[in-house]
Assembly symmetry: C2
Homo-oligomer: 624 residues x 2
């Protein structure tokens, strides 16, 4: 049984039988996967068939914090959630911060596996060794903030931490999320997986400390980390004070802030209305994750007109794009309000906004009519129609029912060429960087194991101009295959497995990511880790995920873009004229597959799998 950093226990909850069991986490798991999504994806691979129905009883939902979660390590209070995604059919992985992650460790668990399906709505209360399945029939229908408070009141303990779904998850909106506090396990529809299992919430409470194996070594590793964080040019100065909205200005400057469903990027750059300064005017406070000195979450308050008094934690850059610029909306009060509304309904802000932006373009092009919209003028910039549509999506009413299926399925149903501007990869709606002007970011969207995901291999080299591991030209195609592999592997191990915040990566704190993870791991767990070992864990995770997705039926043809990215060059701004043709995508893909040691079809080779100790996965790839 693992100790230092780890709690040594997997809690398995069966909703069908309403029973639980305990298993040990092992040294082998720790060495090969470290924790977090590493544990989660490893377990998914073993226990959920790649061809399983994501909303069927056979899917499982796995929560796993990292080995540093619950310690004093900064930027480490995060937890991964893993299931097969109902939105993409690929691996669904999302992580969240706040206090819930640490509480899972304090309750005594490295992993919580949720399997089966409750006959009627339930929530689970995990109070250290005491596990109870409680009726959630009365809670069904409540929004996420109300639900959390009602559970705390029901259990008579305000210190309980709750992760729950809103009405969107209950109604299995394909991009519904899981909310803890004001934070989201946002993407890939993990809320719908909870909804499909009739699981409204997981409430956790515990007081078990997380042990440190070697306190001196730990002190040394932490002081190295703290020093690097203090020396960062952006971590405290920018992310503490302003959070991610600074990226709006950056993306505007680079000409890669998508606007009006990516139809006119570069022509209309609403940085003055949606950028850093505008955001700072709305700021009324900050929130910190457990033991995080950064506190990047900005609390913002809308003060104008019909949105006066609406408060949200955020909006992050991605939501400013998805709930603002891509909808042709440049009123930050609308974005703040929609962000809050999405959090309370349990909708992923990125997908919800992008799918509405897609519908707006369909309407403007005549592919959707007033007959489809119930008489609503669904044009870009119509904030009231947008707000109403968020409710219609959540409750699956009218056009909302179709849009609840996600952009990919909506485009297939609407037809008329709308697939060309359906902004998704593998069904996952695209985050807010116009990859036509950032090629490695684009390759990452095309190849990430979760679909178009800024969180799997963010090309900070292109966005922030940081020359690590080397200087790059954001418009070049060559070298982007190798770079994307490197970005994805570092990110996978640092953020997905060790569940560190992305702000510990090189974009904010240059040069420490893998070494820092290794040093902390050794000090805290007592297991031996070098920076190379750590990098390999990242590579291993990306290979396991690729095997799973391949076995699920995904091929090289799914590592792609919407046609708009390929055929419609950016119209103005500092990326004017750029797009990524199929030919250029192929150049990058070939290099990427080669760097990964995969076949030209993007399938991991036996050799690569054996080199990573993944021999047992080889059988899954027969006929691929």
């Amino acid at each position: 049984m693992l100790k230092g950093g780890y709690k040594g226990k997997i809690l398995r909850l069966n909703l069908t039988t309403q029973t639980f069991s305990l298993e040990d986490t092992t040294e082998e798991m720790a060495k090969n996967y470290i924790g977090g999504a590493g544990f989660g994806i490893n377990i998914l691979m073993k226990e959920v068939s790649p061809t399983a129905d994501p909303l069927g009883e056979e899917n499982k939902l796995i929560f796993a914090p990292g080995p540093f979660t619950g310690t004093n390590v900064p930027c480490a209070s995060r937890i991964a959630a893993v299931a097969k995604s109902p939105l993409t059919g690929a691996i669904g992985m999302a992580s969240s911060g706040g206090y819930f992650p640490a509480e899972v460790k304090f309750a005594g668990y490295d992993v919580i596996i949720i399997e089966g399906k409750a006959e009627k709505p339930v929530y689970v209360y995990i109070n250290e060794d005491k596990i109870s399945f409680r009726s959630a029939e009365q809670l069904w229908g409540t929004k996420t903030f109300d639900c959390q408070q009602m559970i705390k009141n029901d259990l008579g303990d305000q210190n309980i931490r709750v992760a729950c779904i809103g009405p969107a998850g209950e109604n299995m909106v394909k991009y519904s999320c899981i909310i803890n506090e004001r934070r989201a396990f946002g993407r890939k529809g993990l809320g719908a997986v909870m909804g499909s299992k009739n699981l409204k919430a997981i409430a956790v409470r515990g007081q078990k400390e997380v042990a440190i194996n070697d306190k001196d070594a730990y002190k040394t590793a932490r002081s190295v980390m703290n020093k690097a964080m203090k020396e960062s040019h952006v971590l405290y100065s920018m992310f503490s004070n302003a959070g991610t909205p600074c990226v709006v200005d950056l993306a505007g400057e680079l000409g890669i802030l998508p606007t009006r469903n990516w139809s006119d990027t570069g022509e209309w750059i609403p940085v003055d209305k949606l950028g850093l300064e505008a955001n700072n005017e709305k700021k009324i406070g900050r929130e910190h994750c457990y033991k995080c000195p950064v506190g990047c979450s900005q609390m913002k308050l809308a003060r104008g007109g019909r949105y006066a008094g609406m408060l949200t934690e955020g909006p992050e850059f991605e939501s400013i794009y998805s709930l603002g610029s891509t909808l042709g909306i440049d009123d930050l009060d609308v974005v703040i309000t929609a962000d809050r509304v999405c959090d309370e309904l349990g909708l992923d802000t990125i997908s919800a906004g992008v799918v509405v932006g897609f519908a707006m373009e369909c309407y403007e092009k005549g592919l959707l009519t007033k007959e489809d919209t119930g008489g609503v003028e669904l044009k870009f910039g119509n904030d009231i129609a947008f707000m109403d549509l968020l409710l219609d999506i959540t409750y699956r009413r009218g056009l909302g029912d179709l849009l609840a299926e996600g952009t990919k399925i909506a485009a297939a149903k609407i037809g008329g060429g709308s697939e060309k501007f359906a902004m998704h990869v593998k069904g996952l709606e695209m985050p807010g960087y116009d990859v036509r002007g950032a090629k490695a970011q684009g390759l990452n969207y095309a190849t990430s194991y979760t679909g178009a995901d800024h969180n799997r291999g963010y090309a900070f080299q292109e966005i922030f101009g940081i020359p690590i591991p080397e200087e790059v030209d954001r418009f070049a195609y060559e070298g982007k295959g190798k770079l994307t592999k490197w970005n994805q592997d570092v990110r996978a191990v640092t953020c997905d497995c060790a569940t560190m915040c992305a702000f510990i990566l090189d974009m904010a704190v240059p040069g420490i990511a893998t070494q820092n993870t290794a040093s902390l791991l050794e000090a805290i767990s007592g297991l031996k880790f070098t920076a190379e070992d750590v990098q390999t864990v990242g590579e291993r995770l990306n290979n396991v995920a690729k095997v799973y997705n391949t076995a699920a039926g995904l091929t090289r043809q799914d590592d792609n873009f919407p046609e708009r990215i390929m055929n419609e060059p950016l119209k103005d701004g500092n990326s004017k004229g750029e797009c990524i043709s199929q030919e250029n995508l192929d150049i990058m893909l070939n290099e990427y597959y080669e760097a990964r040691g995969w076949t030209n079809e993007g399938v991991p080779t036996e050799e690569k799998l054996r080199a990573l100790g993944l021999d047992d996965l080889i059988g899954l790839l027969q006929d691929k």
Copy 2:
């Protein structure tokens, strides 16, 4: 210094100087006023001139729990708030339940006096002996639920209890309230008093137990109380399971449920849509005040259309009337939503609804036009206009700015005879019993020290048909003066001073109110009290309050009704043909003044004041 039950301390907070001081509560205070509003009004009388500007720096806001608050006595976790009311110019008193009241005791205080005015927005954190004045500049503008959560996060303690104002209080809406948890110090604009002082919130935390003087006597008194509560025919069976919405059915049956601004009562009785059964369909849970076994607060969830997912604690009967029937609205989802919206904005539900109902009638009669409403069709039943108007009132926009002043001032400005159907007494909007069919309830509205207030001398004899102290005919005028005095005195001492819940009164638990208060007081405090002593405290409070109001300029002419009550008989139903003419009101008033030992002008006599030990107040009534 008082002990058993009492904490012995008054905390005086000066917002101007941001300093605090401590004083002792005394045996004399306890004997004469018991606690709660008794303490508060006694202090207001001593320290705030009856002619003070309610929104000026000289007004004070006094919070005081009762001697049983924080003990295991059921139905006792309540706290009074007292100030001069900006809505009525008379004494403003409102109380609230939940956990905040007990927390004030645990922090060590019988009374908190707030005086002066902060230069910039602040909140006060009271952590037992540690008092801090903290900036609330960033919190200014937040809604009440968000504000409470932000303060808990700011102070890093989820067990803190907070009472705060919303934007309505900040903007000094004359009927803005103070919210703790989901509960309100609802009426008379005490939120505006906080707003005028730049005080956003009071956060409290403590762990000091409330002592019991004689544990055996306490056990005996409590078991008598528990037994009586168990024997009640309605307490658990009705109020636990359904709360106050059962009164909708009762009022409908009696023909006294006001509808469409009291214009058509009896003709349209929407009990099927707004009554007990309809409410129970929306119910998803209950909330309890600290140590209360009853748990009358029903959590209700709207599920339909645009209001889907809205949750509220309540709505209580009064809000079903004010946010529903008096607006011509019979959709309970609208009522639930408006109740939640009012709680979050910090608006008193009764006044907010009644003033909008008044405006709707003005619009229907042509006294307000689309020019006044900004193009809105402000007819009875228009729920969307109603919701928008709640925001406009809160932010004082357009017509909302006028309506934010309350029905009395709005009617004076609108003119055109609208005063006749401006449903208030002394500026306080009328609660939901059409007093034309319940004469003692009417006399209570006319004479309560706070204006038209169902909480000061509720005539349960007429509404519930309970023959205590004797059987009454609800249509009769004779005897109602004496009855109203009795109701007001019992209520004043039991609920206002001892801060017990109204459900401990005879309508729910017959025959124990004053004796129970006396027995508990003796056992807990060690001070001697008979039932007669207790009744006298109630009478004393009503006299002190009347002296204050008289000195503030109120006369017999203010103990009145809107003309509609006098001249427009009810049109149908089981009170058909009833109204209360000036002549009949005078019959009741004369009897009431006589029973009280007041002059024919409604002024307390020297003799009466001396008999109650209030000699020092006599000077205030010179020239009256």
